[in-house]
């Protein structure tokens, strides 16, 4: 920067530390709550330091479930969330890399039409068409299945646009060179395009994994059996009993568990995350 004043740096640190405090505070409180017993949490004067019930709470949350309201243990919900998030992320990558390949590297009638059919889906999130989509899933007998959780959410254009954009930056000479080597569309895709797309795929994976993991409305609607519930919808259900009965310490342990996988993805794959976020938006 132009001038370097000490008070300026100190002010910057002060503001940023305040920011981090705001960002961390709710999670810290949840973490603390997940280490106390029910009585301490409910009395409204919970200490701000960890208690001694950590293992008990997490063990009960993951393997046993709540005692008062009969609930599915969280371990199973975690598995459901994981399957859904992976299904959405991988499904999107597969269908969109294939369609982008077709749109960019082939000339055929209705190419533009196909592209626009896909492109329009960018504008309408699942929230505005929930009941009709629910009905389609019900008619296809996909309620309470992984397919029903996953398929409607991979119908979107983000991936196709991202790969299309990336393919456009690949020099034409590469295709000509592999043609001279006698490569057909399959070989070119497998040996040239796929290896070049690894970073793009990884970036898309990170964003879509978080998107899939954090879904709420859709799983809420189409899962009726507790065995198909995802962890994000499960927390809310732990709290829908009357306030005195809700086991907040278990709900908070569940909230921490629900945050861990996607937050870990952001923290440990920060580069890919930032790249995916910036590129899927434009």
């Amino acid at each position: 920067m132009v001038e370097h004043r000490r008070w300026n740096d100190i002010l910057a640190y002060a503001i940023l530390i305040l920011g981090v405090f705001i960002v961390v505070f709710p999670v810290y409180v949840a973490l603390i709550a997940s280490t106390h017993d029910a009585a301490t949490v409910v009395n409204g004067n919970m200490p701000m330091l960890p208690g001694s019930h950590t293992l008990e709470n997490y063990y009960r949350a993951i393997f046993v479930g709540g005692s008062r309201a009969s609930r599915e243990p969280v371990g199973h919900m975690l598995m459901n969330s994981f399957v859904m998030a992976m299904g959405i992320a991988l499904g999107k990558i597969v269908i969109s890399i294939l369609s982008a390949y077709a749109v960019v590297y082939f000339r055929f009638p209705f190419r533009q039409t196909a592209f626009w059919i896909i492109f329009v889906t960018l504008m309408l999130p699942v929230e505005v068409r929930i009941y009709p989509t629910y009905k389609v899933i019900a008619d296809l007998k996909m309620l309470d299945t992984y397919a029903g959780l996953i398929l409607p959410l991979i119908a979107s254009a983000t991936g196709t646009l991202l790969f299309r954009q990336f393919f456009m930056t690949i020099p034409d000479e590469l295709l000509e060179a592999s043609r001279i080597d006698g490569a057909g569309p399959f070989r070119f895709f497998k040996d040239t395009l796929l290896p070049l797309s690894v970073t793009t795929m990884a970036a898309l994976f990170v964003i879509q994994f978080i998107y899939g993991w954090n879904q709420y409305l859709w799983p809420l609607l189409i899962t009726t059996q507790e065995s198909m519930q995802t962890i994000v919808t499960g927390i809310k259900k732990m709290l829908t009993t009357t306030d005195e009965l809700a086991e907040w310490q278990l709900a908070m342990a569940t909230a921490i568990l629900a945050m861990l996988p996607p937050v870990a993805v952001v923290v440990f794959m920060q580069r890919l995350f930032v790249r995916g976020l910036v590129e899927t938006e434009k």
């Binding site: 503001i15 701000m48 929230e127 629900a258």
Partner: protein
């Protein structure tokens, strides 16, 4: 832009497109057109009979005071969330853009809430501000403030706004920081040589140069408030008390599920679709052209 070197192939390209097109048609176009069609129908409670009633669902909807209330709620909610999360994120981003040793650490610390599910964020804030057991409820009451988001609509709104802003700061921060780092240092140095101090430089150089980012974020934030905050509202207030936090999207859900009014719910979906398409069109038309220097 088009590729000049391409493959020939009659069936292969269609084959490659089939998975995405089938999924899009079955789970996107079919339900979306059903929503439009349903909005002209009246269905009985069991979904056995339906009757074409033209625009009656829309008329009934527009005669409902609750619908206007949900529009106002959405407007209030989205302006508050967008204004707060954008300005807070901009403040933090300008600080993180300074040459600080710990800047990368601060960056990670600021962006991870992006990964927290809206519903989970809602539960966290509900716990802190819960009227009977919340950590913040007691200090508020000791200060003589009768805090109760379960009964007071304004308190409930404040709570969902806090949770939504908290979650959105990460996203805005990231884009603002990228925007700030793209501003050439030489322009700022030139300003400094002309005698402009840090504040003057921010408002006359940095802020105008950031306007494309700001406008883009504004549109994204409004869309975020429309849709992604569903989880927050459902987890924290369930649209209450007395509809004080029922946004338009929440009303689509509540009317269709709890009220069983599928025709009315579909009519609301159609209106929402039109709004979102308009927003997206605005974004595409103006982001690149108008708000650039």
């Amino acid at each position: 832009m088009e590729k000049t070197a391409v493959f020939k192939g009659k069936f292969l390209p269609y084959l490659l497109l089939v998975p995405q097109l089938v999924i899009t048609l079955v789970f996107f176009y079919w339900p979306a057109s059903q929503a439009v069609w349903q909005s002209f129908l009246r269905e009985d409670a069991f979904g056995l009979n339906s009757e074409f009633i033209g625009l009656e669902n829309y008329q009934a909807l527009l005669a409902q005071p609750e619908y206007y209330k949900s529009m106002v709620t959405t407007l209030v909610f989205s302006s508050l969330v967008a204004a707060l999360s954008l300005s807070i994120a901009l403040l933090f981003a300008t600080q993180a853009d300074k040459n600080l040793k710990a800047a990368p650490t601060f960056k990670v610390m600021m962006i991870w809430p992006y990964a927290v599910a809206p519903a989970v964020a809602g539960v966290l804030w509900l716990f802190i501000f819960h009227p009977s057991l919340g950590t913040m409820a007691r200090p508020l009451r000791l200060m003589g403030f009768n805090w109760n988001p379960m009964l007071n609509g304004n308190h409930a709104m404040a709570l969902v706004v806090m949770a939504a802003v908290w979650k959105q700061i990460a996203y805005n921060f990231l884009f603002f920081l990228a925007g700030l780092q793209a501003i050439p240092r030489s322009v700022l140095e030139a300003g400094a040589i002309d005698g402009a101090g840090p504040y003057r430089r921010f408002w006359t150089i940095t802020f105008p140069l950031l306007s494309p980012t700001t406008f883009f974020l504004l549109v994204v934030n409004v869309v975020y408030v429309f849709f992604d905050t569903f989880g927050i509202i459902d987890a924290v207030t369930g649209g209450g008390p007395a509809g004080a936090t029922t946004t338009m999207v929440y009303k689509v859900y509540a009317d269709g599920r709890l009220g069983g009014d599928l025709g009315g719910s579909a009519a609301q979906s159609v209106i929402l679709m039109v709004i979102v398409i308009a927003l997206t069109a605005i974004q595409f038309r103006y982001v690149e052209r108008k708000v650039q220097y």
